[in-house]
Amino acid sequence: MSIERMSLVGLTGPAGMLDEVLVRCLSSGCFHPEAPPVSEHKGKHHQLYAENPYAQDLRTLTDAAHRAGITLGYADPDKLSIPQEEYSAFIRRIWEQVTGLSEKKRAAAERRMIHQQAMRQVEHLSGLGLSFDQLFAMKYIEVRLGRLPADSYAKLTYYEDKCFFFQPVDHDKEYYWGLYLVPRAYCEEIDEIFQSLFFERIQLPEYVKGTPQEALAMLRQDISAEDETIAALDRENKAFLKEHTGTVLMLYSRLKFLNDAFECRKYAGEMGDGFALTGFVPKKEEKRFLQLFAELEGVEADAKPVDSDPRLVPPVRLKNNRVIRPYEMFVTMYGLPAYNGIDPTPVVAILYTILFGVMFGDLGQGLVISLVGWLMWKAKKMMLGRVLIRCGISSAVFGCVYGSVFGLEHLLDPMFHAMGFAEKPIEVMHPDTTNMVLITAIGIGVAIILLSMILNIALGIKQKDLGRWLLSHNGLAGLVFYGYVVAAASLMLVGGVNIITLPCILGFVVLPILLIFLKEPLLRLIERKGKLFEGGFGGFFVESFFEMFEVLLSYITNTMSFLRVGGFILSHAGMMAVVMTLMDMVGASASPVVMVIGNLFVMGLEGLIVGIQVLRLQFYEVFSRFYDGDGKPYEPLVPAYDAE
């Protein structure tokens, strides 16, 4: 439950060994590379950069696979029987075969489309009432069948002095279907005009004779012939896939690996006639990683302490056990911790699970949520599903405390009686309980805020940041002030004990406020950084005064923010009470339906809102006090087989 320790590793060697080193780095799966320092070697990297020899083959193979409908992914390339020098020739053959097939299919599909469109257009001409044979048999008149865009039809008046006759037989909003008749002598000129008006001619196949109805029958025959061609090509493609998919995937995996390894040259810097690579590996992998290069001649690999190069920021990988790991998604959503920071995942895991359970306590609904989460994880591998499993269990546990099962508030009473209780421990809807619920919610909030402050102090001490652990409003000064005010108020309300005395006020209120107020000048004084008030005292005072005002206000608002925890306990019980009332209203026969729908509705709506609200509390009330989220993610080199 921490941040993975890293080692800084350096690899040097002759330029000729670079590719082999990169291949081993990539296959190690744990090397996080750092970009070479450009400023020192400006203009000197060219020798290490060359055109990627695998890129073209990879592109061609990927293109062929896409055309053939092969879903690219990893297949063990060690079983590949083709020697490396024959890769290009094999890929070319595959590509030609695939493109040949897809071209044939495309042509057939295009012909089919043309026939189909001709058919649709002939359908529009079915009102013609003439045989095409008669039309085309005219000696002095040419006939053109087709459709004219409605926009162009409006322009026909412009050509009213020209020698043609357009007869529409059908029209819609966009087109006029029909024919134009033109004397042969004017045919060329009129064809040009109609072409400029985007008249689309319907080219009937030679053999289409007779009336439009007969033409339609011909076209239907053509379409089914093309369908058969397409089906035959599909069968051929299927056979091709059966024969070659395995080889294509293996070859793709091999080429992708080599290509990605070659692409990693960008991380190499030039050092004399050789190269230098720098990066991070997890401490526990260090030995195994260095061992990979032991046998490579001229290659030196060594590990250094992680902070030995101040220019490099170590990457962060969170290390948590299986129970807590799903909650890492919330932490990474906000931002990773710094390498020397604190991993907040355990805090998030515990608080999120407990708060969700408290706010959404119901034994039956909790178990359903767990089941849904399990299904999400199993079917879709959604990390949120694993979070839901835990939250559902928490919800079920608190459901037992509240004695609530799918909104039935007394179903567990026999169990409580058997355990020796007179009734269930907490009756949420009882008027006396309401205040207790809300005060407990505030109490939970106070505890969480104090915990966040303690974490901030610990982090400040770890980072040797005086301003952070002592003088900030989330540091020791803030903790003393907030803790005292809360303690004073609680003791006064609960036990009638008054600890508001002058020495206490001076020590626990005035002093912390002064420290927070004077944080900046005090730090300047301690660190001896020039003037105490950089922009003048007036500016400092006004700025700090308003900041102080905001800080004091935020203590109150942040604490009150936790009222929502209590609010949701009540609203959940309230919503289920509504469901129960509706069940009573509809009678015995329909009440199971109302119960199922009501429970689903409450789980869907309230479950979602509670999930969001708890996350909001984590991010705003907890993380904002101690967490920066400015860490750099650990991204080891691994070939991305599914990327293209």
Binding site: E110, D151, A154, K155, D172, Q195, S196, F198
Partner: protein, 339 residues
């Protein structure tokens, strides 16, 4: 009963329509295409163009027809939006119609000057009929400047043709018409204020920047002459910066001045390859920002229209590039692509 706010409705509608724009991925797919029919087929399946392309026969469609359809779609898009508006949108709608009218008059004068007036009929947008006071069919039959004056009788455009000369100076007529258009637009925007004013004034200023650059460095024209072609509006340039641009001797100075003007940030993002490209990219950035963040209905409407025009221009460039078999890498720089 809920009260429907027509401004809010237009904003929501405009943004919903904006959501159907072409994405970078769409452009990449289009650039890979080999034929006009492939483009037509792609657009037919795209939510932003499905309606207008529904009846198109992608196997037979002509480049010009596809371009016409895109322009028609653009006009209809805007008309649809303006029909949501009960008040303010009408003015912008009228302005847009007048922009289309000016384009028609200018196309007519240009073709008359070139002696190719018979080509005009192919570019007549019939979808404009019913929205315009111009009789486009009568204009199509024009064969001389007198015919044109007759066809334009009773319209506000006639006055700009009566310059005293038999054949008016095309550039000067265009400038005067543009001035008149911008006068109406800025008057409306000035009254409205806010983002609309910023958009309109910036467009006018970008036109001036392009004009200065072209006239100065391509046609080597005198400063005094250049001034007579400029629009009297400024947005991001101070009077001093504007004067310096006008006085810049070399192209490098001009670009350097722009880099240190109110267009500094835009220059950092878009660079400067040509004045037209710079103008389009600046407009695109500004319009995108307005559509994303502004709640000013008219500004969003105008910005959305501008972005739609840019998209139509992009598609036209792709279609023409494919028609003339220009490689995709040469077409790409001509496009204003979304980021």
């Amino acid at each position: 009963m809920a009260i429907i706010n027509s401004s809010g409705a237009i904003l929501a509608k405009a943004r919903a329509m904006y959501g159907k724009r072409l994405t970078l991925q769409d452009y990449n797919s289009l650039l890979r295409m080999q034929s006009i029919s492939e483009v037509a087929s792609f657009l037919k399946g795209h939510p932003g163009y499905g309606d207008v392309m529904e009846e198109v026969n992608e196997a037979l469609i002509h480049r010009g027809q596809l371009e016409n359809l895109l322009r028609k779609a653009l006009f209809e898009k805007y008309y649809r939006l303006s029909s949501f508006s009960f008040s303010s949108g009408d003015s912008i709608y009228q302005l847009m119609v007048s922009r289309y009218e000016i384009r028609q008059v200018m196309a007519c004068i240009r073709l008359l000057g070139a002696g190719r007036m018979e080509e005009y009929i192919t570019s007549v947008p019939p979808y404009l009929q019913g929205h315009t006071s111009l009789d486009l069919m009568q204009i199509a039959k024009v064969r001389s400047m007198d015919d044109l004056r007759q066809a334009l009788a009773g319209t506000p455009y006639l006055a700009y043709l009566n310059t005293g000369a038999d054949v008016p100076d095309y550039t000067m007529v265009e400038t005067r018409l543009r001035e008149a258009y911008y006068a109406r637009l800025t008057k409306h925007a000035g009254k409205h204020g806010g983002k609309l004013k910023e958009l309109v004034y910036t467009q006018a200023e970008l036109f001036n920047i392009t004009t200065i650059y072209r006239m100065k460095f391509l046609f080597r024209m005198e400063r005094v002459t250049i001034l007579s072609y400029l629009l009297p509006y400024r947005s991001k340039l101070s009077p001093a910066a504007f004067k310096k641009l006008l006085w810049a001797e070399r192209e490098e100075d001009f670009i350097h001045l722009l880099k240190h003007s109110g267009y500094r940030r835009l220059m950092e993002d878009t660079g400067f390859s040509s004045p037209e490209d710079f103008t389009r990219r600046c407009e695109e950035q500004l319009c995108r920002r307005i559509v994303h963040f502004s709640s000013d209905t008219e500004a969003v409407l105008l910005a959305f229209l501008q972005l739609s025009e840019i998209e139509a221009d992009n598609l036209t460039a792709i279609i023409e590039g494919i028609r003339y078999e220009i490689p995709a890498e040469q077409i790409r720089p001509l496009l204003i692509l979304p980021q």
